[in-house]
């Protein structure tokens, strides 16, 4: 068990990297608290797996340091870091039984047989695979194989961190939900630090207490699921999390206020002193159809069960609004009202309004 610190980490797969664009990871500074449940969320190719492999020691970073409880482990191989990792595709030892698979990491470390037996049975119990212990691992179904992979990650009780690299990719949708809640439950029981890498926002938000959102090798925001949803620090986070994502409109800043097409838009707080391209961001949940506001034309209405998603055109800018009941008809001229305390200004993508005084 340890606190993990990443300090000024940069990594490039090209040994002659010079420019910023050559780096898969650009300057990462991050602390992972002991016992936390973290999700690392981002689109494919944003550097999540690279970051994970640096923590596990499968990769050595080009620059920067990795600390486990202030001990520098940057150059230590994976087996000396005392970590566990579960991969995207199930890795099992085909010729061994399920029992031997689960016991493998312990036996390799010379744990006494009695203790091995105790741990294996405990983990098998948690994963509900006790009745399969004697089965040859090669004969398992894909989801059971992945359970065994997870089990090998969890079987050691002294690990610093357990990392999951998109572990549910190969699992059938109806089992995904089960395994995910199982993991959450396991975290509460074993209390080890867990890092869960995924590009699926639902997985990230259900598993984690803290979500780290990455894009293009940078961490754009760290926060609880609620924080990410309610106050995205970057338009990317707004886009990536939520369905549909946050609306982003081009804006003009004059006299400390934001304007869209010449109409003043009220924001959550004062505009901070930043430069860059100005944009207004507001989530569809906080866009309402009203008597007054920005005039728009309804292009499409989609009834998705719980509510309606109204797609309206402000000139040639598309804005989504979520409307509970009585949606306007297609082609109808309406007015859109943004809830001011959920409307923010972004500069070059980064948030540029002060938090509303509460």
């Amino acid at each position: 068990m340890a606190k993990i610190t990443l300090s000024q980490l940069r990594h490039s797969y090209d040994p002659d990297a010079i420019g910023e664009e050559d780096f898969a990871l650009k300057m990462i500074d991050l602390d992972w608290d002991d016992g936390g449940a973290y999700a690392l969320l981002g689109p494919s190719g944003c550097g999540k797996s690279t970051l994970l492999n640096i923590i596990s020691g499968l990769l050595e970073p080009s620059e920067g340091r990795v600390l486990f409880d202030d001990e520098d482990v940057t150059h230590l191989p994976p087996d000396q870091r005392n970590i566990a990792q579960v991969f995207q595709f199930p890795v099992i030892y085909d010729t061994m039984s399920v029992y031997d698979n689960l016991a493998f990491p312990l036996r390799n470390r010379g744990v006494p047989a009695a203790k091995v037996d105790e741990r294996v049975r405990e983990i098998a119990e948690m994963l509900e695979v006790t009745d399969m212990l004697k089965v040859r691992a090669a004969n398992l179904s894909p989801d059971n194989k992945q359970k065994i992979s997870m089990g090998r990650g969890l079987v050691r009780d002294d690990v610093n961190v357990v990392m999951f690299d998109e572990p549910l990719t190969v699992i059938d949708p109806h089992l995904k939900w089960k395994l995910r809640s199982k993991l959450k439950e396991l975290h509460q029981r074993v209390r080890a630090t867990m890092i869960y890498v995924t590009h699926d926002q639902t997985e990230a938000l259900t598993f984690a207490d803290q979500v780290v959102v990455m894009q293009d090798g940078l961490i754009v925001q760290i926060g609880t699921p609620v924080e990410l949803f309610e106050r995205p620090a970057h338009t990317f986070v707004g886009h990536f999390i939520g369905s549909p994502g946050m609306n982003v409109l081009p804006a003009e800043v004059r006299d400390g206020a934001a304007f869209f097409n010449g109409t003043k838009v009220d924001l959550e707080g004062a505009i901070s002193d930043k430069d860059g391209v100005a944009e207004i961001g507001v989530r569809p949940e906080y866009v309402g159809i009203a008597k007054t506001g920005l005039p728009a034309t309804v292009k499409k209405v989609a009834d998705i069960g719980r509510h309606n998603v109204v797609e309206a055109m402000l000139g040639d800018i598309r804005v989504n609004a979520i409307v509970e009941n009585d949606p306007p008809a297609q082609g109808e001229a309406v007015h859109l009202a943004f809830k001011p305390d959920q409307t923010r200004l972004y500069r070059d993508g980064w948030i540029a309004t002060e938090r509303a005084a509460s």
Binding site: P78, F87, D94, R109
Partner: protein
Amino acid sequence: MKVVNNRAWLFVLPVVILVAFNALIPMMTVVNYSVQETFGNNVFFWQGLDWFIQLMRSERFHAALGRQFMFTGLILLIEVPLGVIIALSMPRKGFWVPVCLVTMALPMLIPWNVVGAMWNIFTLPDIGLLGYFLNHTLGIDYDMTQDPFAAWVTIITMDVWHWTSLVVLLSYAGLVSIPDAYYQAAKIDGASNWSVFRYIQLPKMKRVLTIAVLLRFMDSFNIYTEPFVLTGGGPGNSTTLLSIDLVKIALGQFDLGPAAAMSLIYFAITLLVSWLFYTLMTKDDAK
């Protein structure tokens, strides 16, 4: 309703004809010879199973069969582990991969009789590069034309040189198909190099190794050209393998009947051992 269209059989016909001409008809001719005796002039006498009974009791046949099993056994014992070790030590990516692969494939591209002739000249004690070096530089008494042991060492070395590559290439193909995640997981699980080999690489290579062993068994059990060109079965009968003996009986002595009976038994043994190998090595998969 399902319409039965028997015209489909027409598509199979060319293969049936081909197999009939290149396998079935020649084979039945051999069966025909094996139960008859001839003294030439195309006159045949019915002999029943006499040739088979005689052969099974023949010490000459037992000796040739024994030599054959020893040869095949030895080359399998050397080529399979050696091939796996070479495949394990070959690079997995980069500039040296094609270099290694081409170098490995070269011996297999050389025709059998050329290999025999090459090794013959190579190992002759007075003019061969290796023969001369062993005798005159190192002072080791080595003459494969006189000494049975030297002859055996030479034919085994020749076969290892010629065919280990096949095992290497097949094992290598098995190795490169193992995803990186397996090695990474093994590292994290703290597995030793031996465990990685035993529990990851070997199981993943098992299928291709089965094929490699089968191919090497069949090829070496039926080997003729190389030892024939290299030693001609000598000195004495010491390297007379089954096929060499068979040709001696059939063409040298023109005993068609006994030779035919021997061919059939030879064929039956090859088939039986191949079947045994395959069944044993794949029995786990069926479970």
